[in-house]
């Protein structure tokens, strides 16, 4: 088929070496709020299912990406904070740095490239870190994103999988839209698996686990998160218009789910469906529920058969239950609004247009 052969040619060009063990995990500042189950699931999959070593400790901080992208702090400050993260990694005896957030990944990549081309800047940051904290650092041997890790280990996950991305009734593979965060490969195409035009990292996971990837015209378009304009409420019309372009473009393909590897993108893709439904009465699926949006960890967790409420799927605006039903997933719907063993006292208000 013309499409796959052409894409495979490009994927051969953009290969990336991904280490398979001993990771230093740097958590994200906002992902843990939006998608509370994702990072714990990542650690659980790596440690319990695949027997890998991953260090998750409390001393690291935000990479300061939000402040940097909002022009609130200068680049040197971000570089020094990043240098401290590397210093923590070295101190713990690790060489493989894995940042949870994709904007972080973009920042680390950008900084490492800057230091490569301008060693004098690296020297300056070494001095600044020493002055500020008395620490020394070394650059990591490998810097990879956790979605790269899941991509590299996708067949190991497949071996333990309880479910596939296949419609349980008809046997048809699910149609999946994949959305890769801009900071993954658009800045440095050779730092992403598959390059910037046809990234392979999420496609590989979906295809390995039985799904079919949908290629629609606005696939490469940014979701509009951007940080700097989004922080001001009046500017959000610009951001939502970007995401709406993507929805309008993917609608004819009738996708069953969207997978992303960024913290901000699924936030937009999930929540804006509610806003668009309220503003214009438009829902992008025929059943009126909307297109469920998942992070790749949640997708891996579903495929492995984990309890959806421990994955944090109850925090999603667009209901994920229709997807679970489609793949024949067995779960207890009554557990959705429980914390521990107790049902919470006030249930959330139902949205006006989206079905739940």
């Amino acid at each position: 088929m013309i499409e796959l052969k052409g894409k495979e040619r490009i994927w051969e060009k953009y290969q990336k070496e991904i280490p398979l063990d001993r990771y230093y995990y740097a958590r994200s500042c906002i992902r843990q709020n939006f998608w509370p189950g994702s990072e714990t699931t990542f650690i659980k999959i790596l440690e319990e299912e695949l027997g890998k070593t991953i260090l998750d400790e409390e001393h690291h901080t935000t990479c300061s990406g939000i402040a940097y992208h909002c022009d609130v702090i200068p680049q040197e400050t971000t570089m020094t904070i990043v240098a401290r993260q590397f210093s923590l990694m070295c101190e713990s005896g690790y060489e493989h740095f894995v940042p949870s957030c994709i904007t972080s990944f973009g920042i680390y990549t950008e900084i490492l490239e800057t230091w490569n081309e301008h060693p004098e800047v690296e020297e300056k940051i070494k001095r600044m870190l020493m002055e500020a904290t008395g620490r020394e650092f070394r650059k990591p041997k490998f810097l990879v994103h956790p979605s790269d890790v899941i991509y590299a280990l996708r067949f190991d996950i497949l071996k333990k999988a309880k479910y596939r991305l296949v419609n349980a009734k008809t046997g048809e593979p699910l149609k999946c839209v994949e959305h890769v965060g801009c900071h993954y490969a658009k800045m440095f195409p050779d730092k992403g698996v598959g390059g910037a035009e046809f990234p392979r990292v999420l496609m590989g996971m979906i295809e390995a686990w039985g799904g079919e990837v949908v290629d629609y015209p606005e696939r490469r378009t940014c979701c509009g998160f951007g940080f700097r304009q989004y922080m001001v409420q009046a500017n959000r019309g610009y951001s939502i218009a970007c995401t709406k372009r993507k929805f309008d473009s993917m609608e004819p393909y009738k996708p069953d789910l969207i997978v992303t590897n960024c913290p901000g993108c699924p936030f937009f893709l999930d929540r804006w469906q509610y806003v668009i439904a309220e503003m214009e009465g438009k829902v992008y699926t025929e059943d009126g529920y909307g297109i469920p949006v998942l992070t790749y960890e949640e997708l891996a967790g579903i495929v492995l058969g984990y309890n959806p409420w421990e994955l944090g799927l109850q925090m999603h605006q667009v209901s994920v239950e229709p997807l679970l039903k489609k793949i024949g997933f067995e779960y207890d719907p009554l557990d959705k609004f429980k914390v521990g063993n107790q049902t919470i006292l006030t249930l959330p208000e139902a949205p006006g247009v989206l079905k739940v």
Binding site: A234, G237, Y238, I240, K244, M279
Partner: protein, 113 residues
Amino acid sequence: MAKNKFGFSIHHDRQHNLDTADRNLYNRIALVEPSIQRCIFCGGCASTCTASKFTDLSFRLVSLNLRRGYIDEVKEMVARCMLCGKCTMVCPRDVNIRHLMVLLKKEFSENEF
């Protein structure tokens, strides 16, 4: 109102869709005065145009906008033309611009757009 509830509204998409552009006016005009087909949008007309110094009129843009289906902009600009004929004198491709302007003025006065 959505704006009050959320504090913003969805921005308008300004990417022009050529598939749905209305080229009927251009096609009708080009039948009567085919020289418009050889326009290369060099802007010689606009630079010498009397009205362009004080208004938005640019036949270069009229020529383009007709092809893109931006009829409202064309209507606005055509109203400013004084038919002085300077554009027709300088056009390197010998487009009969004055005639085209007369045709357009007639179209807009006789038809609804």
